[in-house]
Symmetry: C2
Subunit: 313 residues, 2 copies
Protein backbone atom coordinates (compact mmCIF):
# COMPACT_ATOMS: atom_id res chain seq x y z
CA UNK A 1 0.00 0.00 0.00
CA UNK A 2 1.40 3.39 -0.93
CA UNK A 3 1.39 6.20 1.56
CA UNK A 4 1.30 9.95 0.85
CA UNK A 5 4.47 11.46 2.29
CA UNK A 6 6.10 14.86 2.26
CA UNK A 7 9.66 15.81 3.01
CA UNK A 8 10.01 18.95 5.16
CA UNK A 9 13.33 20.81 5.30
CA UNK A 10 14.08 23.71 7.63
CA UNK A 11 17.22 25.60 6.66
CA UNK A 12 18.42 27.56 9.68
CA UNK A 13 21.41 29.87 10.00
CA UNK A 14 23.37 27.19 11.85
CA UNK A 15 21.53 23.92 11.41
CA UNK A 16 19.37 22.25 8.76
CA UNK A 17 16.61 19.98 10.07
CA UNK A 18 14.58 17.64 7.90
CA UNK A 19 11.83 15.12 8.38
CA UNK A 20 9.46 12.82 6.57
CA UNK A 21 5.85 13.65 7.38
CA UNK A 22 2.66 11.75 6.63
CA UNK A 23 -0.80 13.18 5.95
CA UNK A 24 -1.71 13.02 9.65
CA UNK A 25 1.19 15.33 10.49
CA UNK A 26 3.34 12.62 12.05
CA UNK A 27 7.07 12.92 11.58
CA UNK A 28 8.05 9.35 10.79
CA UNK A 29 11.77 9.98 10.36
CA UNK A 30 14.02 12.96 10.89
CA UNK A 31 17.58 14.16 10.98
CA UNK A 32 19.77 17.21 10.74
CA UNK A 33 23.10 18.53 9.46
CA UNK A 34 25.06 21.79 9.73
CA UNK A 35 24.06 24.57 7.33
CA UNK A 36 27.51 26.09 7.61
CA UNK A 37 30.79 24.72 6.31
CA UNK A 38 29.72 24.41 2.66
CA UNK A 39 31.46 26.88 0.35
CA UNK A 40 28.62 27.15 -2.15
CA UNK A 41 24.92 26.26 -2.28
CA UNK A 42 25.94 23.41 -4.62
CA UNK A 43 28.21 21.88 -1.99
CA UNK A 44 25.46 22.30 0.59
CA UNK A 45 22.91 20.56 -1.61
CA UNK A 46 25.32 17.71 -2.38
CA UNK A 47 25.74 17.16 1.38
CA UNK A 48 21.98 17.44 1.95
CA UNK A 49 21.30 14.91 -0.79
CA UNK A 50 23.84 12.57 0.77
CA UNK A 51 22.02 12.80 4.13
CA UNK A 52 18.55 12.42 2.65
CA UNK A 53 19.12 9.57 0.21
CA UNK A 54 18.92 6.72 2.76
CA UNK A 55 15.80 8.27 4.37
CA UNK A 56 14.02 8.73 1.06
CA UNK A 57 14.97 5.25 -0.10
CA UNK A 58 13.82 3.52 3.06
CA UNK A 59 10.46 5.33 3.02
CA UNK A 60 10.03 4.54 -0.68
CA UNK A 61 10.60 7.35 -3.15
CA UNK A 62 7.35 6.60 -4.95
CA UNK A 63 5.41 7.65 -1.83
CA UNK A 64 6.62 11.26 -1.84
CA UNK A 65 4.37 14.00 -3.14
CA UNK A 66 7.07 16.62 -2.81
CA UNK A 67 9.43 18.56 -0.61
CA UNK A 68 8.58 21.72 1.35
CA UNK A 69 11.41 24.01 2.39
CA UNK A 70 11.55 26.76 5.00
CA UNK A 71 14.53 29.11 4.73
CA UNK A 72 15.52 32.58 5.91
CA UNK A 73 14.53 35.20 3.30
CA UNK A 74 12.81 32.44 1.36
CA UNK A 75 10.29 33.61 -1.20
CA UNK A 76 7.13 31.58 -1.68
CA UNK A 77 6.40 33.10 -5.09
CA UNK A 78 9.81 32.54 -6.69
CA UNK A 79 11.28 29.66 -4.66
CA UNK A 80 14.43 31.71 -4.16
CA UNK A 81 16.47 32.62 -1.10
CA UNK A 82 17.31 36.29 -1.52
CA UNK A 83 20.12 38.11 0.30
CA UNK A 84 19.83 36.11 3.51
CA UNK A 85 22.10 37.82 6.04
CA UNK A 86 22.17 34.74 8.30
CA UNK A 87 23.13 32.16 5.68
CA UNK A 88 26.69 31.52 4.53
CA UNK A 89 25.88 32.31 0.87
CA UNK A 90 25.22 35.70 -0.67
CA UNK A 91 22.93 36.86 -3.43
CA UNK A 92 19.92 35.10 -4.94
CA UNK A 93 19.81 31.31 -4.66
CA UNK A 94 17.13 29.38 -6.58
CA UNK A 95 16.94 26.89 -3.71
CA UNK A 96 13.55 25.29 -4.50
CA UNK A 97 14.67 24.52 -8.05
CA UNK A 98 18.06 23.21 -6.92
CA UNK A 99 16.68 20.94 -4.19
CA UNK A 100 13.82 19.80 -6.42
CA UNK A 101 16.26 18.75 -9.13
CA UNK A 102 18.71 17.14 -6.71
CA UNK A 103 15.98 15.00 -5.12
CA UNK A 104 13.79 14.67 -8.19
CA UNK A 105 10.78 15.93 -6.22
CA UNK A 106 8.36 18.80 -6.65
CA UNK A 107 9.73 21.52 -4.36
CA UNK A 108 8.00 24.47 -2.66
CA UNK A 109 9.83 27.01 -0.51
CA UNK A 110 8.88 29.74 1.91
CA UNK A 111 10.37 31.86 4.65
CA UNK A 112 11.37 29.68 7.64
CA UNK A 113 9.18 31.64 10.02
CA UNK A 114 6.23 31.49 7.60
CA UNK A 115 6.69 27.72 7.53
CA UNK A 116 6.67 27.69 11.33
CA UNK A 117 3.45 29.75 11.33
CA UNK A 118 1.82 27.22 9.00
CA UNK A 119 3.07 24.43 11.28
CA UNK A 120 1.61 26.11 14.38
CA UNK A 121 -1.68 26.80 12.61
CA UNK A 122 -1.99 23.23 11.33
CA UNK A 123 -0.65 21.24 14.26
CA UNK A 124 0.32 23.57 17.12
CA UNK A 125 -0.97 26.16 19.60
CA UNK A 126 -2.29 28.41 16.80
CA UNK A 127 -4.86 25.82 15.72
CA UNK A 128 -8.11 27.72 15.24
CA UNK A 129 -6.55 31.19 15.49
CA UNK A 130 -7.13 33.56 12.56
CA UNK A 131 -4.88 36.46 13.60
CA UNK A 132 -1.52 35.72 15.14
CA UNK A 133 2.21 36.21 14.75
CA UNK A 134 4.94 33.60 15.04
CA UNK A 135 8.32 34.93 16.15
CA UNK A 136 11.35 32.67 15.85
CA UNK A 137 14.22 33.59 18.14
CA UNK A 138 17.11 31.67 16.61
CA UNK A 139 20.36 32.84 15.06
CA UNK A 140 18.28 35.73 13.76
CA UNK A 141 14.71 36.80 14.44
CA UNK A 142 12.12 35.59 11.95
CA UNK A 143 8.39 36.14 11.83
CA UNK A 144 5.25 34.91 10.13
CA UNK A 145 2.09 37.01 10.20
CA UNK A 146 -1.36 35.46 9.83
CA UNK A 147 -4.37 37.75 9.32
CA UNK A 148 -7.91 36.63 8.46
CA UNK A 149 -6.65 33.05 8.68
CA UNK A 150 -4.13 33.55 5.88
CA UNK A 151 -0.39 34.04 5.84
CA UNK A 152 0.59 37.57 4.80
CA UNK A 153 3.05 37.14 1.93
CA UNK A 154 2.90 40.70 0.65
CA UNK A 155 2.88 41.55 -3.05
CA UNK A 156 6.35 40.09 -3.59
CA UNK A 157 6.39 37.20 -1.12
CA UNK A 158 8.70 38.98 1.35
CA UNK A 159 6.28 40.18 4.03
CA UNK A 160 6.99 39.51 7.69
CA UNK A 161 10.64 40.42 8.25
CA UNK A 162 10.10 41.66 11.80
CA UNK A 163 13.76 40.98 12.60
CA UNK A 164 14.62 43.89 10.31
CA UNK A 165 12.28 46.45 11.79
CA UNK A 166 14.48 49.19 13.26
CA UNK A 167 14.23 48.73 17.03
CA UNK A 168 16.90 51.28 17.90
CA UNK A 169 17.63 54.21 15.55
CA UNK A 170 21.36 54.38 14.79
CA UNK A 171 21.71 51.18 16.82
CA UNK A 172 23.86 48.09 16.29
CA UNK A 173 25.10 47.28 12.82
CA UNK A 174 23.16 44.36 11.33
CA UNK A 175 24.19 41.67 8.85
CA UNK A 176 21.82 43.36 6.39
CA UNK A 177 24.05 46.47 6.36
CA UNK A 178 21.65 48.73 8.27
CA UNK A 179 21.62 49.79 11.90
CA UNK A 180 19.44 48.91 14.85
CA UNK A 181 17.48 45.95 13.43
CA UNK A 182 15.46 44.08 16.07
CA UNK A 183 17.37 40.85 15.48
CA UNK A 184 20.67 42.47 16.48
CA UNK A 185 19.18 42.64 20.01
CA UNK A 186 16.47 39.99 20.27
CA UNK A 187 17.89 36.71 18.99
CA UNK A 188 20.36 34.11 20.21
CA UNK A 189 23.20 36.08 18.64
CA UNK A 190 21.75 39.44 19.73
CA UNK A 191 21.69 38.54 23.41
CA UNK A 192 25.29 37.28 23.21
CA UNK A 193 26.22 40.58 21.59
CA UNK A 194 24.63 42.44 24.49
CA UNK A 195 26.63 40.33 26.95
CA UNK A 196 29.93 40.92 25.17
CA UNK A 197 29.30 44.65 24.72
CA UNK A 198 28.39 45.12 28.36
CA UNK A 199 31.37 43.05 29.55
CA UNK A 200 33.64 45.38 27.60
CA UNK A 201 31.93 48.50 28.97
CA UNK A 202 31.24 47.62 32.60
CA UNK A 203 33.11 46.24 35.56
CA UNK A 204 30.10 44.55 37.18
CA UNK A 205 31.10 41.17 38.62
CA UNK A 206 29.45 38.29 36.75
CA UNK A 207 30.09 34.62 36.13
CA UNK A 208 29.91 35.43 32.41
CA UNK A 209 33.27 37.22 32.42
CA UNK A 210 35.18 33.97 32.74
CA UNK A 211 33.17 32.39 29.91
CA UNK A 212 34.39 34.81 27.23
CA UNK A 213 34.69 34.40 24.28
CA UNK A 214 32.44 31.34 24.39
CA UNK A 215 29.26 32.89 25.74
CA UNK A 216 26.01 31.54 24.26
CA UNK A 217 22.39 32.44 24.93
CA UNK A 218 22.12 29.23 26.91
CA UNK A 219 25.07 30.17 29.13
CA UNK A 220 23.47 33.58 29.78
CA UNK A 221 20.23 31.84 30.67
CA UNK A 222 21.99 29.49 33.09
CA UNK A 223 23.80 32.41 34.75
CA UNK A 224 20.48 34.24 35.13
CA UNK A 225 18.88 31.12 36.64
CA UNK A 226 21.64 31.15 39.24
CA UNK A 227 20.77 34.75 40.09
CA UNK A 228 23.65 36.48 38.28
CA UNK A 229 22.48 40.11 38.33
CA UNK A 230 24.37 40.99 35.16
CA UNK A 231 22.73 38.12 33.25
CA UNK A 232 19.31 38.99 34.66
CA UNK A 233 19.76 42.54 33.44
CA UNK A 234 20.62 41.30 29.96
CA UNK A 235 17.27 39.50 29.83
CA UNK A 236 15.47 42.60 31.04
CA UNK A 237 17.13 44.72 28.35
CA UNK A 238 16.40 42.16 25.62
CA UNK A 239 12.78 41.85 26.76
CA UNK A 240 12.41 45.61 26.73
CA UNK A 241 13.64 46.03 23.16
CA UNK A 242 11.52 43.10 21.94
CA UNK A 243 8.45 44.25 23.88
CA UNK A 244 8.65 47.82 22.56
CA UNK A 245 8.86 46.64 18.97
CA UNK A 246 6.09 44.07 19.40
CA UNK A 247 3.82 46.78 20.85
CA UNK A 248 4.24 48.74 17.61
CA UNK A 249 3.64 45.58 15.59
CA UNK A 250 0.41 44.81 17.45
CA UNK A 251 -0.77 48.29 16.46
CA UNK A 252 -0.58 47.19 12.84
CA UNK A 253 -2.13 43.69 12.74
CA UNK A 254 -3.81 43.39 16.18
CA UNK A 255 -3.13 39.66 16.67
CA UNK A 256 -4.81 37.47 19.26
CA UNK A 257 -1.53 35.78 20.12
CA UNK A 258 2.20 35.95 19.59
CA UNK A 259 3.85 32.54 19.52
CA UNK A 260 7.56 32.25 20.16
CA UNK A 261 9.99 29.54 19.39
CA UNK A 262 13.64 28.93 18.68
CA UNK A 263 16.69 28.64 20.93
CA UNK A 264 16.24 31.88 22.84
CA UNK A 265 12.52 31.21 23.42
CA UNK A 266 13.59 28.30 25.65
CA UNK A 267 14.52 30.89 28.27
CA UNK A 268 10.77 31.11 28.88
CA UNK A 269 9.50 33.52 31.53
CA UNK A 270 13.04 34.70 32.21
CA UNK A 271 12.60 36.58 28.92
CA UNK A 272 8.84 36.71 28.39
CA UNK A 273 7.96 38.32 31.72
CA UNK A 274 9.94 41.34 30.54
CA UNK A 275 8.53 41.13 27.02
CA UNK A 276 5.00 41.12 28.44
CA UNK A 277 5.71 44.08 30.75
CA UNK A 278 7.14 46.19 27.94
CA UNK A 279 4.45 45.24 25.43
CA UNK A 280 1.71 46.30 27.85
CA UNK A 281 3.58 49.42 28.95
CA UNK A 282 3.91 50.57 25.34
CA UNK A 283 0.51 49.57 23.95
CA UNK A 284 -2.22 51.96 22.93
CA UNK A 285 -5.03 51.44 25.47
CA UNK A 286 -7.41 49.71 23.05
CA UNK A 287 -4.95 46.80 22.74
CA UNK A 288 -4.01 46.37 26.40
CA UNK A 289 -4.34 42.97 28.10
CA UNK A 290 -5.64 41.26 24.99
CA UNK A 291 -2.65 39.62 23.36
CA UNK A 292 -1.56 36.18 24.59
CA UNK A 293 2.14 35.40 24.56
CA UNK A 294 2.63 31.69 23.95
CA UNK A 295 5.54 29.37 23.54
CA UNK A 296 5.39 26.82 20.78
CA UNK A 297 4.40 23.45 22.20
CA UNK A 298 5.88 21.64 19.21
CA UNK A 299 9.36 20.23 19.79
CA UNK A 300 12.07 22.50 18.50
CA UNK A 301 12.58 21.87 14.82
CA UNK A 302 9.24 20.07 14.42
CA UNK A 303 7.08 23.17 13.85
CA UNK A 304 9.33 24.25 11.02
CA UNK A 305 9.55 20.75 9.52
CA UNK A 306 5.78 20.27 9.79
CA UNK A 307 5.10 23.71 8.37
CA UNK A 308 7.52 23.19 5.50
CA UNK A 309 6.00 19.79 4.73
CA UNK A 310 2.47 21.28 4.83
CA UNK A 311 3.44 23.42 1.82
CA UNK A 312 3.44 20.22 -0.24
CA UNK A 313 -0.19 19.22 0.25
Amino acid sequence: MTQALALGIDIGGTNTAFGIVNRRGEIIAKGNMPTTGHDTPHHYIAALRHELTPLLDSAGRENFEGVGIGAPNGNFFTGEIVFAPNLPWRGVIPMAKMIGEALNLKAVLTNDANAAAIGEMTYGVAKGLRDFIVVTLGTGLGSGFVANGELIYGHDGFAGELGHVIAVREGRICGCGRNGCLETYASATGIVRTANEWLAERNTPTVLRAMQPNITSRIIHEAAMQGDVFALEIFEFTGKILGQTLADTITITSPEAIIFFGGLAKSGDMLFDHVRTHIEHNLLNIYKNKVSLMQSALPDADAAILGASALVW
Copy 2:
Protein backbone atom coordinates in the same frame (compact mmCIF):
# COMPACT_ATOMS: atom_id res chain seq x y z
CA MET B 1 -38.77 52.66 -9.97
CA THR B 2 -36.90 52.10 -6.71
CA GLN B 3 -33.18 52.50 -6.57
CA ALA B 4 -30.73 50.81 -4.20
CA LEU B 5 -28.99 53.57 -2.24
CA ALA B 6 -26.57 53.71 0.65
CA LEU B 7 -25.72 56.56 2.94
CA GLY B 8 -22.00 56.98 3.65
CA ILE B 9 -20.82 59.03 6.64
CA ASP B 10 -17.21 59.92 7.35
CA ILE B 11 -16.67 61.22 10.88
CA GLY B 12 -13.41 63.15 10.97
CA GLY B 13 -11.75 64.89 13.88
CA THR B 14 -12.88 68.28 12.58
CA ASN B 15 -15.49 67.68 9.92
CA THR B 16 -18.19 65.11 9.18
CA ALA B 17 -18.84 64.41 5.50
CA PHE B 18 -21.79 62.43 4.21
CA GLY B 19 -23.14 61.37 0.86
CA ILE B 20 -25.79 59.29 -0.83
CA VAL B 21 -24.26 56.66 -3.08
CA ASN B 22 -25.86 54.39 -5.64
CA ARG B 23 -24.80 50.87 -6.64
CA ARG B 24 -22.53 52.21 -9.38
CA GLY B 25 -20.54 54.18 -6.80
CA GLU B 26 -21.90 57.55 -7.85
CA ILE B 27 -22.36 60.12 -5.10
CA ILE B 28 -25.72 61.60 -5.99
CA ALA B 29 -25.89 64.07 -3.07
CA LYS B 30 -23.49 65.12 -0.37
CA GLY B 31 -22.89 67.54 2.44
CA ASN B 32 -20.90 68.12 5.59
CA MET B 33 -21.04 69.59 9.08
CA PRO B 34 -18.56 70.21 11.91
CA THR B 35 -17.79 67.24 14.16
CA THR B 36 -16.81 69.58 16.96
CA GLY B 37 -19.06 71.88 18.98
CA HIS B 38 -21.43 69.17 20.22
CA ASP B 39 -21.15 68.49 23.94
CA THR B 40 -22.18 64.84 23.76
CA PRO B 41 -22.54 62.19 21.04
CA HIS B 42 -26.32 62.63 21.47
CA HIS B 43 -26.12 66.32 20.55
CA TYR B 44 -23.89 65.44 17.62
CA ILE B 45 -26.35 62.84 16.35
CA ALA B 46 -29.27 65.22 16.73
CA ALA B 47 -27.40 67.75 14.56
CA LEU B 48 -26.43 65.03 12.05
CA ARG B 49 -30.03 63.86 11.82
CA HIS B 50 -31.15 67.43 11.24
CA GLU B 51 -28.68 67.76 8.34
CA LEU B 52 -29.52 64.38 6.84
CA THR B 53 -33.31 64.45 7.02
CA PRO B 54 -33.92 66.59 3.89
CA LEU B 55 -31.37 64.54 1.91
CA LEU B 56 -32.89 61.21 2.92
CA ASP B 57 -36.41 62.45 2.29
CA SER B 58 -35.65 63.85 -1.16
CA ALA B 59 -33.92 60.63 -2.23
CA GLY B 60 -36.79 58.55 -0.84
CA ARG B 61 -36.20 56.75 2.44
CA GLU B 62 -37.57 53.48 1.06
CA ASN B 63 -34.63 53.33 -1.37
CA PHE B 64 -31.96 53.08 1.34
CA GLU B 65 -30.40 49.75 2.18
CA GLY B 66 -28.46 51.17 5.10
CA VAL B 67 -25.83 53.55 6.35
CA GLY B 68 -22.08 52.91 6.43
CA ILE B 69 -19.95 54.92 8.83
CA GLY B 70 -16.22 55.55 8.91
CA ALA B 71 -14.88 56.94 12.20
CA PRO B 72 -11.54 57.22 14.01
CA ASN B 73 -11.03 54.20 16.30
CA GLY B 74 -14.19 52.71 14.85
CA ASN B 75 -14.62 48.99 15.37
CA PHE B 76 -16.15 46.94 12.58
CA PHE B 77 -17.01 44.03 14.89
CA THR B 78 -18.82 46.01 17.61
CA GLY B 79 -19.93 49.18 15.81
CA GLU B 80 -18.37 51.23 18.59
CA ILE B 81 -15.96 54.17 18.61
CA VAL B 82 -13.47 53.40 21.34
CA PHE B 83 -11.22 55.97 23.04
CA ALA B 84 -10.75 58.15 19.95
CA PRO B 85 -8.10 60.73 20.84
CA ASN B 86 -9.12 62.98 17.94
CA LEU B 87 -12.84 63.15 18.63
CA PRO B 88 -14.44 65.52 21.14
CA TRP B 89 -16.03 62.65 23.17
CA ARG B 90 -14.24 60.20 25.47
CA GLY B 91 -14.83 56.56 26.24
CA VAL B 92 -16.80 53.98 24.26
CA ILE B 93 -19.55 55.29 21.98
CA PRO B 94 -21.98 52.80 20.36
CA MET B 95 -22.09 55.00 17.27
CA ALA B 96 -23.46 52.47 14.76
CA LYS B 97 -26.39 51.66 17.05
CA MET B 98 -27.07 55.35 17.80
CA ILE B 99 -26.96 56.48 14.16
CA GLY B 100 -28.94 53.42 13.04
CA GLU B 101 -31.69 54.21 15.52
CA ALA B 102 -31.70 57.94 14.81
CA LEU B 103 -32.08 57.37 11.05
CA ASN B 104 -34.02 54.12 11.25
CA LEU B 105 -31.50 52.45 8.95
CA LYS B 106 -29.28 49.39 9.23
CA ALA B 107 -25.89 50.80 10.28
CA VAL B 108 -22.37 49.40 9.83
CA LEU B 109 -19.25 51.16 11.11
CA THR B 110 -15.52 50.84 10.62
CA ASN B 111 -12.34 52.78 11.15
CA ASP B 112 -12.30 55.88 8.91
CA ALA B 113 -9.06 54.83 7.25
CA ASN B 114 -10.36 51.29 6.68
CA ALA B 115 -13.37 52.84 4.99
CA ALA B 116 -11.02 54.87 2.82
CA ALA B 117 -9.10 51.71 1.91
CA ILE B 118 -12.32 49.99 0.85
CA GLY B 119 -13.21 53.11 -1.16
CA GLU B 120 -9.81 53.09 -2.92
CA MET B 121 -10.03 49.35 -3.58
CA THR B 122 -13.56 49.58 -4.98
CA TYR B 123 -13.43 52.87 -6.90
CA GLY B 124 -9.93 54.41 -6.65
CA VAL B 125 -6.26 53.90 -7.47
CA ALA B 126 -6.12 50.64 -5.47
CA LYS B 127 -8.51 48.91 -7.86
CA GLY B 128 -7.00 45.49 -8.59
CA LEU B 129 -4.31 45.72 -5.89
CA ARG B 130 -4.23 42.92 -3.32
CA ASP B 131 -1.59 44.29 -0.95
CA PHE B 132 -1.54 47.97 -0.12
CA ILE B 133 -1.82 50.50 2.68
CA VAL B 134 -3.96 53.62 2.81
CA VAL B 135 -2.60 56.42 4.99
CA THR B 136 -4.87 59.33 5.83
CA LEU B 137 -3.05 62.51 6.80
CA GLY B 138 -5.79 64.56 8.42
CA THR B 139 -6.21 65.87 11.97
CA GLY B 140 -4.57 62.60 12.97
CA LEU B 141 -2.91 59.85 10.94
CA GLY B 142 -5.10 56.88 10.10
CA SER B 143 -4.36 53.73 8.14
CA GLY B 144 -6.03 50.78 6.50
CA PHE B 145 -4.01 47.67 5.62
CA VAL B 146 -5.06 45.31 2.86
CA ALA B 147 -3.30 41.94 2.51
CA ASN B 148 -4.31 39.10 0.19
CA GLY B 149 -7.09 41.36 -1.09
CA GLU B 150 -8.70 41.64 2.34
CA LEU B 151 -8.75 44.37 4.96
CA ILE B 152 -6.77 43.43 8.07
CA TYR B 153 -9.16 43.93 10.99
CA GLY B 154 -7.19 41.95 13.56
CA HIS B 155 -8.81 39.64 16.09
CA ASP B 156 -10.65 42.54 17.77
CA GLY B 157 -11.36 44.85 14.83
CA PHE B 158 -8.69 47.39 15.83
CA ALA B 159 -5.83 46.58 13.47
CA GLY B 160 -4.16 49.33 11.46
CA GLU B 161 -3.51 52.18 13.90
CA LEU B 162 -0.27 53.27 12.20
CA GLY B 163 -0.69 56.76 13.67
CA HIS B 164 0.05 55.25 17.06
CA VAL B 165 3.21 53.40 16.16
CA ILE B 166 6.00 55.00 18.17
CA ALA B 167 8.01 56.99 15.61
CA VAL B 168 10.26 58.71 18.16
CA ARG B 169 11.00 57.05 21.54
CA GLU B 170 10.24 59.49 24.37
CA GLY B 171 8.98 61.89 21.71
CA ARG B 172 6.04 64.26 21.70
CA ILE B 173 3.10 63.63 24.00
CA CYS B 174 0.12 62.28 22.05
CA GLY B 175 -3.62 62.62 22.64
CA CYS B 176 -3.59 58.89 23.47
CA GLY B 177 -1.43 59.60 26.55
CA ARG B 178 1.75 58.04 25.21
CA ASN B 179 4.86 59.62 23.70
CA GLY B 180 6.25 59.79 20.19
CA CYS B 181 3.27 58.48 18.19
CA LEU B 182 3.68 58.94 14.43
CA GLU B 183 0.61 61.17 14.20
CA THR B 184 2.12 63.74 16.56
CA TYR B 185 4.61 64.42 13.73
CA ALA B 186 2.99 63.34 10.46
CA SER B 187 -0.50 64.81 10.29
CA ALA B 188 -2.03 68.24 9.74
CA THR B 189 -1.78 68.95 13.46
CA GLY B 190 1.66 67.32 13.76
CA ILE B 191 3.26 69.54 11.14
CA VAL B 192 1.78 72.64 12.81
CA ARG B 193 3.22 71.41 16.10
CA THR B 194 6.63 71.14 14.46
CA ALA B 195 6.31 74.71 13.17
CA ASN B 196 5.32 76.12 16.55
CA GLU B 197 8.00 74.17 18.43
CA TRP B 198 10.73 75.28 16.04
CA LEU B 199 9.55 78.89 16.09
CA ALA B 200 9.89 78.86 19.88
CA GLU B 201 13.34 77.23 19.74
CA ARG B 202 15.01 78.92 16.77
CA ASN B 203 15.58 82.41 15.50
CA THR B 204 15.58 81.50 11.80
CA PRO B 205 13.76 84.15 9.77
CA THR B 206 10.55 82.82 8.26
CA VAL B 207 7.24 84.18 7.04
CA LEU B 208 5.56 81.78 9.47
CA ARG B 209 6.60 83.80 12.52
CA ALA B 210 4.07 86.52 11.76
CA MET B 211 1.31 83.93 11.30
CA GLN B 212 1.40 82.67 14.88
CA PRO B 213 -0.79 81.48 16.50
CA ASN B 214 -2.87 80.75 13.38
CA ILE B 215 -0.48 78.51 11.48
CA THR B 216 -2.11 75.65 9.56
CA SER B 217 -0.59 72.87 7.44
CA ARG B 218 -1.84 74.79 4.40
CA ILE B 219 -0.04 77.97 5.48
CA ILE B 220 3.19 75.98 5.97
CA HIS B 221 2.72 74.50 2.49
CA GLU B 222 2.23 77.93 0.94
CA ALA B 223 5.32 79.28 2.69
CA ALA B 224 7.34 76.32 1.42
CA MET B 225 6.04 76.89 -2.13
CA GLN B 226 7.39 80.43 -1.87
CA GLY B 227 10.80 79.06 -0.94
CA ASP B 228 10.70 79.76 2.79
CA VAL B 229 13.66 77.68 4.02
CA PHE B 230 12.18 77.15 7.47
CA ALA B 231 8.94 75.79 5.99
CA LEU B 232 10.87 73.62 3.52
CA GLU B 233 12.82 72.15 6.40
CA ILE B 234 9.58 71.36 8.25
CA PHE B 235 8.48 69.28 5.26
CA GLU B 236 11.83 67.51 5.14
CA PHE B 237 11.62 66.66 8.84
CA THR B 238 8.01 65.45 8.54
CA GLY B 239 8.86 63.36 5.49
CA LYS B 240 11.81 61.82 7.31
CA ILE B 241 9.78 60.72 10.34
CA LEU B 242 7.00 59.38 8.12
CA GLY B 243 9.42 57.66 5.73
CA GLN B 244 11.34 55.94 8.52
CA THR B 245 8.17 54.56 10.06
CA LEU B 246 6.75 53.47 6.71
CA ALA B 247 9.99 51.61 5.94
CA ASP B 248 9.45 49.54 9.10
CA THR B 249 5.82 49.02 8.16
CA ILE B 250 6.73 47.76 4.69
CA THR B 251 8.95 45.18 6.40
CA ILE B 252 5.81 43.72 7.97
CA THR B 253 3.21 43.62 5.18
CA SER B 254 5.28 44.26 2.02
CA PRO B 255 2.64 46.28 0.15
CA GLU B 256 2.71 47.08 -3.55
CA ALA B 257 1.58 50.63 -2.91
CA ILE B 258 0.98 53.18 -0.21
CA ILE B 259 -1.89 55.53 -0.98
CA PHE B 260 -2.12 58.86 0.79
CA PHE B 261 -4.94 61.20 1.26
CA GLY B 262 -6.25 63.87 3.60
CA GLY B 263 -5.43 67.54 4.07
CA LEU B 264 -1.68 67.17 4.47
CA ALA B 265 -1.43 64.82 1.46
CA LYS B 266 -2.41 67.79 -0.70
CA SER B 267 1.13 69.08 -0.21
CA GLY B 268 2.09 66.42 -2.78
CA ASP B 269 5.74 66.10 -3.76
CA MET B 270 6.71 68.83 -1.30
CA LEU B 271 6.14 66.11 1.30
CA PHE B 272 6.32 62.86 -0.67
CA ASP B 273 9.74 63.44 -2.23
CA HIS B 274 11.12 63.36 1.31
CA VAL B 275 8.93 60.43 2.32
CA ARG B 276 10.19 58.46 -0.69
CA THR B 277 13.83 59.30 0.04
CA HIS B 278 13.58 58.21 3.67
CA ILE B 279 11.58 55.08 2.90
CA GLU B 280 14.20 53.92 0.40
CA HIS B 281 17.11 54.94 2.62
CA ASN B 282 15.72 52.88 5.49
CA LEU B 283 14.44 49.82 3.63
CA LEU B 284 15.95 46.36 3.81
CA ASN B 285 17.44 45.72 0.36
CA ILE B 286 14.84 43.11 -0.70
CA TYR B 287 12.13 45.82 -0.57
CA LYS B 288 13.98 48.64 -2.29
CA ASN B 289 12.43 50.42 -5.29
CA LYS B 290 9.32 48.29 -5.28
CA VAL B 291 6.70 50.27 -3.37
CA SER B 292 4.68 52.90 -5.25
CA LEU B 293 3.65 56.00 -3.37
CA MET B 294 0.34 57.27 -4.71
CA GLN B 295 -2.03 60.05 -3.94
CA SER B 296 -5.71 59.28 -3.84
CA ALA B 297 -7.33 60.36 -7.09
CA LEU B 298 -10.74 60.49 -5.46
CA PRO B 299 -11.86 63.95 -4.37
CA ASP B 300 -11.18 64.62 -0.72
CA ALA B 301 -13.99 63.20 1.35
CA ASP B 302 -15.28 61.00 -1.49
CA ALA B 303 -13.03 58.01 -0.81
CA ALA B 304 -14.18 57.89 2.78
CA ILE B 305 -17.84 58.37 1.86
CA LEU B 306 -17.64 55.76 -0.90
CA GLY B 307 -15.79 53.34 1.37
CA ALA B 308 -18.24 53.85 4.20
CA SER B 309 -21.17 53.37 1.86
CA ALA B 310 -19.59 50.20 0.41
CA LEU B 311 -19.93 48.62 3.88
CA VAL B 312 -23.68 48.56 3.32
CA TRP B 313 -23.75 46.34 0.25
